[in-house]
Point group: C2
Chain length 216, copies 2
DNA sequence: GCACTAATGTACTGATCGGTCAATCAGGAG
DNA sequence: CTCCTGATTGACCGATCAGTACATTAGTGC
């Protein structure tokens, strides 16, 4: 095996996955042709198929690797002994950092997930659920310690949603905010809410107290 | 013009838009062929092209109509004289109701937006921005009246994100929660935060007060 | 030089892509 | 009946689709 890796130490397969993320993010899975994927990697179709099994393999391998790595980083945070508030913040920072640093992959995972079929779709769905459970566990810990109000399904998906949605609008290279600043701002909303202090905001006898905790 | 409309009063063009939303939502814009779109509407390719200009026209018309209608419903809420908290809640309910009732269209608008090209993409982007501004205006009103803490860009997109993300997971026919219940739960997070009362949660001298308001 | 293998390009498959076209059909108006 | 118009069909366009087969190149160990 002569030159499996180029001067930067990246194998052809790794290069293909990297450029495929960019192409899939820009044109969509079905919108990108195999010839286009090869061209982006500097290969003709025939050579490309020497390195990959199929176009769907590309999408699956790319997505699986991304989610597994995010899962691994998230587990380190969840397994730490931080205070629930700090743990939620750390997990959110990790999440937005990933979105900022590997936006192409995030776009593909979140937007083209449904292009996977059969067993592949199920396996990636399981990985995605595991990652979602990281947030559920942090919230549950908080509820047990009397720090958070609720950890029900909708709350977990709400937290995940407010963070995930940043993949649509956050461009780390354009915006003035760092990933950590964005994560902090979003998680502040979730933790403290947008309501100003009842002292200054209450008027007309309006009820501005927080609602009762939600049942799990 | 004999039978432009069938017995239910739906024109062929309207029927095409309706079934196209379902097909695009299931297979994606690039993943669905025009033959498949026609078949879903009970037409051959040739007949389909008698009613539409192009495949992209279909996506554009479908998306434009959806966003314009959502925009119109949202404006009614924003132009009302509700208290900012109630107005935000009403806007959120309207939003989740739309997601629940016309999920196919929402999926297409949010997921296949990027398949539009040129002027079409720009025009729809403008409409989307107008809809986003509804949330910005409600938050700004709240800040002016001392009710909300901030109305900066990230806050607006955070609120929009926590609501929008429900299009990924909320199935009105499966879940036990009504759209209004989901919207209320999500908007409670935004308004009050997930932090339990500082009285019961504070410990070790931990700072559990809300952070300072964010600058616009 | 020789043999081996990783890697690549070229050429091909059958199918489908979005879109167009002329011919035709169905039904109401005169 | 004739004429008109809305609606539909099926054939056809060139291009591209994902995937395969095979010969060729390039580099290594001997």
């Amino acid at each position: 095996m002569p030159r499996q890796r180029d001067e930067s130490g990246e194998s052809t397969h790794e290069r293909i996955l990297r450029v495929a993320a960019e192409v899939f993010a820009r044109k969509g899975y079905h919108g990108a042709g195999v010839a286009e994927l090869g061209e982006a990697a500097g290969l003709k179709r025939g050579a490309l198929y020497y390195h990959i099994g199929s176009k769907e393999d590309l999408l699956y391998d790319l997505s699986k690797r991304h989610v597994e790595e995010a899962l691994q980083r998230g587990r380190v945070v969840v397994d730490s002994d931080l205070h629930p508030v700090d743990k939620l913040r750390a997990l959110a920072r990790e999440h937005v950092q990933t979105i900022a640093a590997r936006r192409d992959e995030v776009i593909v995972v979140l937007r083209e997930m449904h292009a996977l079929t059969g067993k592949r779709a199920r396996q990636l769905g399981k990985l995605r659920d595991e990652h979602q459970n990281l947030f559920a566990r942090v919230l549950e810990e908080g509820v047990e310690q009397g720090v958070f109000r609720s950890a029900d399904h909708v709350t977990v998906l709400g937290v995940l949603g407010i963070l995930n949605w940043s993949y649509v609008w956050y461009d780390a290279e354009k915006g003035p905010l760092t990933p950590d600043q964005v994560a902090d701002r979003l998680i502040d909303i979730v933790i403290y809410g947008e309501l100003a202090s009842p002292r200054s905001a209450g008027r007309n006898g309006r009820q501005l107290e927080a609602p009762a905790p939600v049942q799990r």
